[in-house]
């Protein structure tokens, strides 16, 4: 059961270089396609600037799209009128990375949680407070917090409020953009648990955007790895960690620090930095850092291919029938 399908999504930015120079086009999201099944947690993984957050925002139409289709329950979101999209937002919500910036400092918790109910006209006004109290209890806060402002809470508590705001309308789909990366270690696990519980309780579907592979491994079902605006590998989470195909995925997984000092990690250290997205390398954009780069990689863009059942990757190592690691 597909809840959301993304087809050939593109998001290009233009950067003006001055009056007499041509504009530079940055391909933040470049021809990305995937689909999310109802009830699953789908992860977008990659390093800063790879386009994972932009992809998340385009799905909710929080930023413009250059081309492509986003089918949510079969409807193309990009074709909806602004008003239709606005009312559909009751079903599609978002949890943000920065719990400090994502709550309006001038509003009380009650106002913050009341807002979604009010704008979507859910429940009778007198029932709304009841609903708010219920959701507060679910996320581990209580009645006495109602009239406080966000600055009176710690980062972890704020993220709970942000999650409460997202789930209060009983949505079907939530985009969670790095929801735990701004939190302290001991609080991270609390919030992850909360998200897992809510998913079970409300049958939520998550798009989980993260750079933290150990969190992704723990709580997601399928993963798409992104590099410079493109998906380079897409497969079930367990399979990805057990048998990564794309050299970038391999390097990414190997770069995760060990969890025990005795654990010996065979590490693939990539050379160099992520190239400037305004001026990406030719061919396979990863070839400048790839330990297995071949001649063909410099000139030909590898296509996303299903190399094993359900395991998609874009790498010449596999399309050339040369099975190498």
């Amino acid at each position: 059961m597909t809840l959301l399908e993304v087809k050939n999504l593109k998001k290009y930015y233009e950067i003006s270089q001055g009056l007499f120079k041509p504009k530079v086009v940055v391909k933040a999201v470049d021809n990305v396609s995937f689909s999310i099944k109802k009830g699953e947690t789908f992860a977008l993984v990659g390093e800063s600037g790879c386009g994972k957050s932009t992809t998340g925002k385009t799905l909710l139409r929080l930023t413009g799209t250059t081309s492509g289709e986003i089918l949510y329950k079969g409807k193309d979101l990009l074709a909806l009128s602004a008003e239709k999209m606005r009312s559909l937002r009751a079903e599609m919500q978002m949890v943000f990375q920065d719990p400090y910036a994502s709550l309006n400092p001038k509003m009380t918790i009650k106002q913050i949680l009341m807002e979604p109910l009010r704008v979507h006209n859910k429940f009778q006004p007198e029932e709304r407070l009841e609903k708010i109290l219920k959701i507060l209890e679910i996320v581990g806060l209580s009645k006495e917090h109602l009239d406080r402002h966000p600055n009176e809470f710690s980062g972890g508590q704020r993220q709970r409020i942000g999650i409460a705001r997202a789930v209060i309308l009983n949505p079907d789909f939530i985009v969670a953009d790095e929801p735990v990366s701004a939190l302290d270690v001991s609080v991270q696990s609390q919030v992850i648990n909360l998200m897992l519980e809510l998913q079970k309780e409300f049958g939520l579907t998550y798009l989980f955007i993260s750079h933290d592979l150990s969190v992704v491994e723990h709580m997601t079902d399928r993963v798409a790895v992104m590099y410079l605006g493109k998906i380079v590998e897409l497969v079930d989470t367990e399979e990805l960690f057990a048998n990564p195909k794309h050299p970038y995925t391999q390097a990414l997984i190997s770069a995760v620090p060990a969890s025990h000092p005795k654990e010996v990690k065979e590490r693939i250290v990539l050379k160099g930095d992520v190239p400037n997205p305004a001026n990406p390398p030719s061919g396979c954009t990863f070839h400048t850092r790839c330990p297995f780069a071949m001649d063909i990689c410099k000139s030909v863009v590898p296509a996303l291919t299903e190399i094993e059942s359900g395991h998609i990757t874009s790498c010449h190592l596999y399309t050339n029938n040369k099975e190498e690691k």
């Binding site: 001055g18 009056l19 007499f20 120079k21």
Partner: protein
């Protein structure tokens, strides 16, 4: 670079054009000035004759087009009073105003930057508090009144300097001090806060961690960083300085553009006002241009672009 200059020149043209247009219509809206030159009981025919002579009887847009055509060639008409070329009159007064404004700017910078830096370095000491206190008061003093007080003390009582007129260095002392007062106060406060801002930056901690002594830290490193915002402020304040010059010139009867403009406004001698507006808008644009270049010089992030 070419890009930058073209953009800038276009901008200046727009600014000057709009400024002239607005002032032109403002002036015309306030009625025509013919009545000012004639006795109040002048016969109607005489007024009409005069209006025709000065061209005020034509439709407004014709007058505007005529005016703009002249302005492009630097012709703003003749003074309604003296009949001399308006732009020429303004230009003749420029040197005196420049003398005043530049001396005041130089004086403010010489005093304000060291004071501001020292104040930031000795934050919360008696010295810092005193300098902040003086600048707060300095900003509250209207400069024309400060000028009057200086005249009272140094011209009327002590008879050290002349109270009005221009021509010698002695004539300059009181007007320059008067004009510098406000800028000094602003510059000290701003240098101090720019410096404090820079001193709290991570990269200053890095330099400190290299074992750099505080004096080097401030004089070599932090000062260069804080110059970026300081230059911006100075550019912004040059407008205030030019405006202040108008008032200061009035107080000291300084023979500059400001005094000319004030008198022309009083006399409704509008060709001169328009010529003055034209010149000031251009000067201001030039100053902004220079600031941008200076800015690029101290800020490598812009330079490399």
């Amino acid at each position: 670079m070419l890009d930058f200059i073209v953009k800038r020149v276009v901008q200046v043209v727009i600014v000057v054009f709009l400024a002239l247009t607005v002032v032109f219509f403002l002036i015309r809206l306030s009625g025509d000035p013919t009545t000012l030159f004639l006795p109040p009981d002048a016969p109607k025919e005489q007024i009409e004759e005069y209006r025709e002579l000065l061209g005020f009887n034509r439709p407004l847009y014709v007058q505007y087009a005529e005016f703009m055509k002249g302005a492009v060639h630097g012709d703003f008409g003749e003074s309604l009073r003296s009949g001399e070329d308006a732009l020429g009159l303004v230009m003749a007064r420029m040197p005196a105003t420049f003398q005043l404004a530049i001396s005041a700017l130089a004086l403010s910078l010489i005093i304000a930057i060291p004071l501001g830096v020292l104040s930031a370095y000795k934050r919360n000491t008696l010295f810092d508090k005193a300098s902040v206190g003086i600048t707060v008061i300095g900003q509250a003093i209207p400069n024309f009144w400060f000028g009057l007080i200086l005249i009272f003390i140094f011209a009327a009582q002590l008879k050290l300097f002349p109270s009005s007129g221009g021509g010698s260095v002695k004539h300059m002392v009181l007007p320059v001090i008067t004009l510098a007062l406000y800028s000094v106060s602003r510059f000290v406060r701003f240098t101090r806060s720019a410096m404090l801002d820079v001193l709290s930056k991570d990269y200053i901690r890095t330099t400190k961690a290299a074992g750099t002594p505080t004096s080097t830290l401030i004089m070599k490193y932090a000062l260069k960083n804080s110059l970026i915002p300081i230059i911006t402020l100075i550019a912004l304040d040059l407008g205030v300085l030019l405006g202040g010059a108008v008032i200061t010139e009035a107080v000291f009867s300084w023979p500059g553009v400001g005094r000319l403009l004030q008198q022309s406004l009083m006399n409704r001698d509008f060709p001169i006002v328009l010529a003055g507006v034209f010149i000031i808008a251009i000067i201001y644009a030039v100053i902004n241009f220079i600031t941008d270049i200076l800015y690029a010089y101290v800020n490598p992030q812009i330079r490399v672009k």
